[in-house]
């Protein structure tokens, strides 16, 4: 009697879903549509878009750091402000073209984040968060004491004065659009990579992943640096559009507060979440910011309720309920049809 061969089940790793394929098409169309804004849209709209794009970049990076990296920080504004001031320094003092200086500012910020991380990583959990805030305060106070950049009251971007208004507005807008798209793409690509898988493993269990050969320290550092790069980019773009910078605006903890709100409302640990969150935040701002302090009270209460009742956020809830993934970073095991039996004689 011929024995049957024992074949192990064969698997494929599948990622795309129908929703993601549809979403990709819609997304590309949207991008193309947005790119045409400078030709017909109001300057006010573009400025609002720029601001929201910066919030998106900042929130996306915070989400990468906290939702995927497990490092909850309320001090990322240190890098946002640094990006803005690096742009200022390069433009005003070194004569670098301000538009070219934007990515350079982001890189410089990332370089500063390297030594800073060694200090920040001494703390864990909730105390890590407050520690990052202290570091941001150090940045703020340091800059506020430097009169060359305007000290406590800040200064304007003289380098932009030579450029005509329409060009400046268009290029700033395109840079913000590119920055936002790039940061989403960067996070998406990162999570699909081996580094990303390592990150998800670390998030679930540091000890288990370390035992599987994952270099936890290096991976966490990598994420921290990427987040700093993104924050620096957001800062450079924001103040490029703002034309003016001051320590209080650059390093205020409100950046962290709002981005936490955005990510939480949208859905932490997902890529779609911050996008939805920024849109919601924009709408809330549009309709309610006239109420001043009461609006902020409302935001605070909303954050409390969402954290306790809807910890997954709006997108997280939707995606869990209807199994929707536009940015599929999960990996599915799909069973291949078994091969025909091989008989041995």
């Amino acid at each position: 009697m011929t024995p049957h061969a024992l074949t192990a089940p064969q698997f494929d790793v599948s990622r795309a879903t129908t929703a993601s394929r549809a979403g990709a098409v819609v997304g590309l169309l949207l991008l193309v549509c947005l790119a045409t804004f400078p030709f017909w849209a109001d300057a006010g709209w573009m400025r609002e878009f720029n601001e929201m794009a910066c919030y998106l970049i900042f929130a996306m990076m915070w989400n990468l750091l906290a939702g995927y990296g497990g490092m909850v920080s309320i001090g990322q504004q240190a890098y946002l402000g640094l990006g803005g001031y690096a742009l200022l320094a390069m433009g005003n003092f070194l004569g670098v073209n301000p538009f070219v200086a934007v990515p350079i500012a982001a890189v410089l910020t990332m370089l500063v984040a390297l030594p800073v991380s060694q200090i920040a990583f001494r703390l864990q959990g909730g105390y890590f968060a407050i520690g990052t805030w202290v570091i941001a305060e150090v940045f703020r106070l340091s800059v506020a004491n430097v009169s060359a950049v305007g000290g406590g009251s800040g200064t304007s971007f003289t380098a932009l004065r030579g450029i005509d208004k329409a060009t400046r507005q268009s290029v700033t807008f395109w840079l913000c659009l590119a920055g936002a798209a790039a940061s989403v793409a960067l996070v998406y690509w990162f999570l699909r990579s081996r580094q990303g898988l390592a990150l998800l493993a670390i998030r679930d269990s540091e000890i288990a992943s370390e035992s599987q050969g994952v270099n936890v320290r290096a991976t966490k550092l990598g994420v921290y640096l990427v987040a700093a790069f993104g924050a620096g980019l957001a800062g450079a773009l924001y103040f490029l559009g703002n034309l003016r910078i001051s320590p209080d605006a650059a390093f205020t903890v409100n950046w962290s507060a709002f981005s936490i709100f955005i990510v939480l409302i949208g859905g932490i640990g997902t890529i779609e979440g911050p996008i939805i969150g920024v849109i919601l935040f924009y709408l809330l701002n549009k309709f309610f910011s006239d109420y001043g302090t009461w609006y902020l009270v409302g935001l605070g209460l909303l954050a409390i309720v969402v954290t306790i009742k809807f910890p997954r956020g709006l997108w997280g809830w939707l995606s869990h309920r209807f199994d929707l993934h536009f940015f599929p970073v999960q990996r599915r095991l799909v069973l291949r049809e078994p091969d025909k039996e091989i008989s041995h004689d």
Partner: protein, 292 residues
Amino acid sequence: MLGWIDTIVQGVLLGGLYAMFAMGQSLIFGVMRLTNTAHGDFIILAAFGAFSLALAVGLPPAAAPWLALGLMLPIAFAAGYGLQRVVLNRTLGRDPLPSLVVTFGLAIVIQNLLQEIYSADPRSIESGGLNTASVSLGGGLAVGTLPLLIFVIAVAMAIGMQLLFDRTPIGRAFRAVSDDKDAAELMGLDHRHVYALATGIAFLLVAVAGTLHGMKTTVSPADGPALLLYAFEAVIIGGMGSFYGTLAGGIILGVTQAIGFRFDPGWGIWFGHIVFLAMLVFRPSGLFPKTR
């Protein structure tokens, strides 16, 4: 020379106030590993509460704030117990994010409500001249009576809290639940209640700190975050798990800031932050850490 001694003494007294800010946070973090980002805002809330109560009781300014504090204490305890039981207990767990976000939300709510009620103008609690009185320490050195009083109360707080932890049944319960929550439950302890007691006590400390702070200087609704950072730094410098450590941490922070201010007012607080960060790099467990 006298100038330097004066600076150091001022720094020590300032440190007493910082230690007072930090005591409540040291307690809460020690018992349940909760990071309360609204801690500073609760202190400011207490200060404004004392401010309004002192005006309402209609006594002369020398006595009014003390009565106001006395009235506030039971309210503070109940508020802390209730907040922990109803809201904060739900945020505890392995993930630090929920407690961070919820307390952050609370901070924003408190700051803006205070702004609505009191506007952004700084207020101070009338104390009938206590904040300008001074005491001579001999050798040409004089210190403010109120800062000295604050320092003494801060020391008393540290001693009191350490005794509470080391010698009383509730202190035993705090240490046990902090060590091993599930094992403590096996002894019949209800962690929800014990945590709430800890927060209640912490809020008592916050009420005292806020009232004294409001008597010493002016307070405005947005002051909270700065106090949070000082409290946090005092706890870390001193080492977690010890109230004497927190006292020492506060004093070191106060002295550091005073020295910084002496060089240049703009760099005072910055210097304090730098020393804190240096501490993190060279002695991350603090000066007097208890084994955890």
